[in-house]
Amino acid sequence: MDKPVNNRAWFLVLPVLALVAFSAVIPLMTVVNYSVQDTFGNNQFFWNGLGWFQEVLDSDRIRAALGRQILFSAIILAIEIPLGIFVALNMPKRGFWASLCLVLMALPLLIPWNVVGTIWQVFGRVDIGLLGHTLAALGLDYNYVNDRLDAWATIIVMDVWHWTSLVALLCYAGLQSIPDAYYQAARIDQASRWAVFRFIELPKMSGVLLIAVLLRFMDSFMIYTEPFVVTGGGPGNATTFLSIDLVKTAIGQFDLGPAAAFSLIYFLVILLISWVFYTVMTAQKDAP
């Protein structure tokens, strides 16, 4: 089919272009600007080439933070995606209980990040927190302030509590869009429960699952507020994730150049991993 080509149509893109320029490109460019310059104060800058990038890539501290970050996101995805699917599969399909479930599930999503952090910070305290106190009373040696493993466990459980709902709600929406005829056909074909999941529900959910994985990956990879409120990055550097480290560099030490280079590398890593997820998860769809 021949479609008319009219290059003036590009003008229609201009408003969006202007908006994106102000919201993303210009702020990003100021960061790029800082990342290639050094200063001794007095607002006087001089060219530093890729020096800061070199420094960031060579930094053991940042490499360790990146390692922790990847581990954290991997654990989060490995728990939240299957758990979210499981919850969605077991939610009532319609009626009063479906509505109630939806409201209850949405509640954690409505709580601000720092409030979530505060809740769990108090909840886990051994002296006054319900969780910490109970565990201590049961004779378990639990203390997220001193113990690395306990700190990790607390932050992971907190994130699972906070965000599994998102995955579940997305999957639920995907499941709701499957016409009844598919289930009826499966019953007629005598498909097992597993086959229904594997060949009907999972393929139909793949679109929303991609969104869920990307959202959860990006969010968990950029996590800052909750661990900062609960553990402050400690004990030691045990829960110092990338963004906590970045803020330390930028605001704590006021190393603008390294922080800018750090930000850009951080951004590219997220972009790269998201692209990998996207490519892998859509590859099967396009296969003949």
Binding site: A185, I188, D189, Q190, F199, P288
Partner: protein, 368 residues
């Protein structure tokens, strides 16, 4: 395979149906012979899909029984009934190949692999997809997907019946014709009982030996296409089947005479004195235009021509008899009489309806 009997079956989607209106399916008793090709015909929302789902066991009726042969299957789940169903929209397993899709129902029933392969090859040839067996189902066109659904319905040889729920809705018109012909020949070849739900009279009449016409949850007539055409038992059958539908004119009936729009016409027998809303029905094929001229009387009804539609091999004459609409069919080779002002119905094809149901003549009814 088995005979299917619906015994005093009725269904309501409400938990406690109060009146007749609460029933999506009004009480009915029907028997479908083993190996027959049946169509369930009716407009949207008349309950035909409800009836189909009851037969396939996706729905449990609120009243009555479903029998396969002599076995009561009313309470049995779908899987235990051994039926196949093809739905309105193609249902394929996206991530599987065409081959895996066709093999799926057999595999789930634990058939040996060699037998599955043979059967799949056979069905693939039937639906004309032998060369696309290894394609993934996801990327195929709607009609290819629907062919896979048809194939999955056909792949099991021992099914009690194959149910089709408006299976050709999403198919291109020229493919429709081809698939319907294919279904028909498959039916002849394998002799499965087939029940075909549609709102398209052409589909129903070309596919089925027996057509069950439904209206508002009620079976209004079950019969051969010929019987539905020649002797509609209900006004709905009259105007739903046939193109254009049957003419229905309010009339006063007394014995073997009817008075319509001030004119008297003869009826094919003595109909007594029917009560309620009395109408006479005549198919447009059996009304001939005539010119009586002023004072002259060619018999029949007064007619005022309003519009002529030329549809190729015949013309449709639309007009009014008195103040009631009347349609006639005129073969292409017959001229419209000059000064047309009468419409003459063929007496043998006249029917009398009281409150929409046909009134059989007391005497002199010819054998159908």
């Amino acid at each position: 395979m088995a005979r299917i009997t619906l015994d005093d079956l009725a269904h309501s989607y409400l938990p406690r149906p109060a009146g007749d209106d609460d029933f999506a399916l009004k009480p009915m008793t029907l028997t479908w012979q083993d190996g027959g090709a049946y169509a369930l015909l009716g407009s949207s929302g008349c309950g035909k899909s409800t009836l189909l789902n009851i037969i396939s066991g996706l729905l449990v009726p609120s009243r009555g029984r479903v029998l396969f042969g002599d076995r009561d299957v009313t309470a049995l789940p779908t899987a235990a009934r051994n039926i196949a169903q093809v739905f309105q929209f193609p249902v394929v397993y996206d991530t599987m190949t065409v081959r895996q899709n066709l093999a799926f129902p057999l595999k789930n029933r634990g058939m040996p692999a060699a037998q599955i392969a043979a059967r799949v090859a056979e069905v693939a040839a039937m639906i004309g997809m032998a060369d696309t067996l290894d394609r993934r189902a996801r990327g195929l066109t709607a009609d290819a997907k629907q062919k896979i659904s048809l194939g999955r319905g056909m792949v099991r040889q021992d099914v009690n019946a194959i149910l089709f729920d408006e299976p050709l809705t999403v198919i291109d018109p020229h493919m429709k014709w081809e698939l319907r012909t294919q279904l028909k020949s498959l039916h002849r070849q394998f002799g499965h009982t087939m029940i075909y739900v549609t709102h398209d009279q052409t589909e129903a009449l070309t596919f089925a030996d027996q057509v069950v016409v439904m209206s508002e949850g009620r079976v209004v007539q079950a019969g051969t296409p010929q019987a539905l055409f020649d002797r509609p038992e209900h006004t709905f059958v009259g105007y739903f089947i046939g193109s254009p539908g049957m003419n229905l004119l309010d009339a006063e009936v007394r014995g073997d005479r009817a008075t319509v729009a001030g004119a008297q016409i003869a009826l094919p027998g003595d109909h007594g004195l029917p009560q309620g809303r009395v109408q006479i029905g005549i198919r447009p094929e059996f009304v001939t235009p005539a010119a009586g001229g002023p004072g002259g009387d060619g018999g029949g009804l007064p007619f005022r021509l309003e519009r002529v539609e030329d549809v190729g091999h015949h013309r449709i004459l639309r007009g009014r008899a008195g103040d009631q609409p009347l349609t006639m069919l005129l073969p292409e080779d017959r001229p419209i009489p000059a000064g047309i002002d009468r419409a003459v119905p063929a007496t043998a094809h006249l029917h009398v309806y009281a409150d929409d149901w046909r009134v059989a003549p007391v005497t002199g009814e010819r054998a159908a």
